[in-house]
Symmetry: C2
Subunit: 347 residues, 2 copies
C-alpha cells in the first residue's frame, strides 16, 4: 500500500441507534488506529455525542450534512430526495478519493444504492454482492469456524460469471480479513452432484471447477451450511437470502425455547442456570456482529455494512475491518484475480 | 366416498430398514383399520417378518416381486433396469385401480419417478410437488403448530401456475389431514412486499391474491418459516429445498451443541439433566416423522413418502395418513379446486 494515511468515511447517522453508537464506536477506534475517521452527518448531534467519550482528536473529523436517511424511509425515494444524506455523502467521498472505505449501519438498501450511484465496480464485475459471516460448528476442523456466504440479497438471480466473481471476492475477504490461507469455496445448490441445479448453477460449477486459483469443493446443500463445509459459500442472491434468513429464524426459535424454559418449571430454570456459562460462550460465538459487519463486495472501494442494531463495539469492529481491508489492499487482490479470470475466459 | 373397501399399496422393500419396519408398521396398522394393506415385495422376506408380529390376516396381502431398488441404486438407472421393483409395482397397482394410495420409505427420487411413469397427474397440473410438514413455534397461535411447505425439491424452477396449484394441494392437505378449517397460504420470497422476487414470484403473488378460495397472506421470508406465519408455504422447488435443508441443518447443529454440553463440565451435564423433560417434549414435537411422512402431491392418487430411516411407528402413521386421505377424498378436493382455477384462468 501507499504511505498515504488511510481515511475511513463513517456514516454517523445510519442505524437504529445513530449517532450514539456510531460516534462511540469511532471514538473507541480512534484510540487504537493511525487511520483518519471522518464522521459524516449532523455536526451538532455528532458533537453532542463526542462530548460523552474519550477520543483521539487527531484522528476524528466531522463532515457536516444536515440530511439523513432513517430506517423508516424507503431507500429509493430517500436517495432521490436527499442527495446530501450522510450515507450518500460517504459514498461520494470514496468516489472522490477523499476516503478509502466506508462503514454504515444504515439500511442495506440505502447503502447499496448509495454505493451504486457513486462508486465504480471492480472492472469486469457486473453485479455486486452482499455477504455475511456466520458461525459454524466446523465439522471439518478448518482453521476458522466462520464461513462467509454471498450473495445474500443484493441480487435476485445471477449469471455463472457473477458467481465466479463472488467466489474471488469471498476468497480475498477470507484470506485477508480472516487469515485463511487457501479458503475452500462451495456452491449452494439443491444437491451435491455437478449436474444439479438450474442452468446458472451447472455452468458456475464448471467454471469454478476449472479455476486453478479457486479451491472449489463442489456443491453443498442447505444442511451443510452450519456444518461449515466451506470457507466461502457462493449463492445466487435469492437462494443465499432465503438460506441465511432461515438460519437466523431457526436460531431465533431455539432462543425462544430457551426463554420458555426459563419461565417454566423450577427444575428447568435451574437447568438453564447450570448451563448459563456454556450458553454465554455459544452466544458470544454466534454473535457474529461482533466480528465486524457484512461486506458489500464488487465495488472498487471497501464498503462495510454494520447491523442496524449494532452495539458501539460491533460498529467499532466494522471500522477496524475496513481499515484492515484497506491496509491489506483487499480490493487490489479481488481486482487482479477477477481480471485474470475475465481475460482467460475470453480466450 | 364409495363403499368399496380402501386398499393401500405398501412398498415393503423401500427404506433403510425394510422390510423390517415396513412390515411391522403394516402389521400394527392392520389391527386398527378396515382398509386392505398390500405388502409389495419379496414374499420370503416379508413372510419372515410377518411371523414376528401380531396382525389381522384379513387385512394384509402380499404381492410378490423379487426386485427391489436399494438406497444405493441410482433411481434413474434402477427404474429402467428393474421394472418390477416393489416401488414401481406399487405405482402400477395404483394406476390399474387395484389400490387407492401408496406408501413408500424408499428413495425420494425412486418414488417420484415411479409415480411419474405410472400415475396420471391431476388434470391441469404440470408439475408435481414434494411437501414436508415441519413444526413451528406458532407465534400467531394458529390451530395447528405444524406448517406444510411445498415444493421442496421435486422441481428446480416453477411457473406461477404451478405455485397456485401447489397452494391448492397444500390447502386440501391441511384441511383434510390436519383439520385446519381455512389454512393460510404464503409465498416464500426474498422480501415481504408484493413486488419482490423473480418474475415467477411476482406473477404468483398476483394470482394467489386474486383467488377467493385461497386465504393468501402474502410473501414471507426465510426467518418467518419457523415462526409458523402460514399453514401452507408455497415455494419454487430450489428455494423450498434450500430452506428446509437449512432448517434441518440448523436444528442438527443445536443437537450437537447439546451433546457437547453432555460431554462437558459436570455442571453442564447436571443442567441438561434438569432440562431433559423439556427437551424430550420438544423432540417429540420436532420429530415430525411421527406425523406421517411427506406427501408427493399433484398425482391423481395419494402418495406418501415416509422417511428412509422411519421407525415402524412413523411408517404406520404414513399408512394411516394415506387411509385418511382416501377416506376424505383429498384428491377429489384438489381436483375440483384446481379445475376451477384452470377454467377461470382461461376466461
Amino acid at each position: 500500500m501507499t504511505n498515504k494515511p488511510i481515511t475511513i468515511a463513517i456514516d454517523a447517522m445510519g442505524g437504529d441507534h445513530a449517532p450514539q453508537i456510531t460516534v462511540e464506536g469511532a471514538c473507541r477506534m480512534s484510540l487504537e488506529t493511525s487511520a483518519n475517521l471522518l464522521l459524516i452527518g449532523n455536526e451538532v448531534k455528532i458533537n453532542a455525542e463526542l462530548k460523552k467519550h474519550t477520543y483521539n482528536k487527531e484522528r476524528i473529523k466531522i463532515v457536516h450534512t444536515p440530511d439523513e436517511i432513517t430506517m423508516e424511509d424507503s431507500p429509493r425515494i430517500a436517495i432521490r430526495e436527499k442527495p446530501n444524506a450522510s450515507v450518500l455523502l460517504a459514498a461520494k467521498l470514496l468516489n472522490e478519493g477523499k476516503a478509502d472505505a466506508m462503514v454504515s449501519a444504515g439500511s442495506t438498501g440505502a447503502v447499496i444504492l448509495s454505493a451504486a450511484i457513486h462508486i465504480e465496480r471492480i472492472p469486469g464485475v457486473k453485479r455486486t454482492a452482499l455477504g455475511t459471516i456466520y458461525p459454524t460448528y466446523n465439522e471439518q476442523q478448518r482453521e476458522n469456524i466462520f464461513s462467509l456466504i454471498l450473495d445474500i440479497g443484493a441480487n435476485i438471480t445471477n449469471t455463472p460469471d457473477d458467481l465466479v466473481h463472488f467466489a474471488y471476492m469471498g476468497v480475498s475477504y477470507k484470506k485477508k480479513l480472516m487469515h485463511v490461507e487457501s479458503p475452500t469455496v462451495a456452491l449452494l445448490n439443491i444437491g451435491a452432484e455437478e449436474y444439479k441445479g438450474n442452468d446458472t448453477m451447472k455452468k458456475a460449477y464448471q467454471l469454478l471447477a476449472s479455476r486453478p486459483d479457486i479451491n472449489f469443493i463442489g456443491n453443498i446443500e442447505g444442511n451443510d451450511l452450519v456444518k461449515g463445509k466451506a470457507d466461502v459459500v457462493v449463492a445466487e442472491g435469492m437462494i443465499g437470502n432465503i438460506a441465511v434468513k432461515t438460519m437466523e429464524g431457526t436460531v431465533e426459535a431455539v432462543k425462544k425455547l430457551a426463554k420458555m424454559a426459563l419461565k417454566g418449571k423450577l427444575i428447568w430454570k435451574f437447568g438453564m442456570l447450570c448451563l448459563s456459562g456454556g450458553i454465554k460462550k455459544i452466544m458470544k460465538i454466534a454473535n457474529y456482529e461482533e466480528y465486524g459487519g457484512a461486506p458489500i463486495l464488487g465495488f472498487n472501494k471497501i464498503i462495510i455494512k454494520s447491523h442496524g442494531r449494532s452495539t458501539a463495539r460491533a460498529f467499532k469492529n466494522g471500522i477496524k475491518v475496513a481499515i484492515q481491508a484497506v491496509t491489506d489492499d483487499m480490493i487490489g487482490i479481488m481486482r487482479d484475480s477477477i481480471s485474470q479470470f475475465e481475460s482467460e475466459k475470453e480466450k
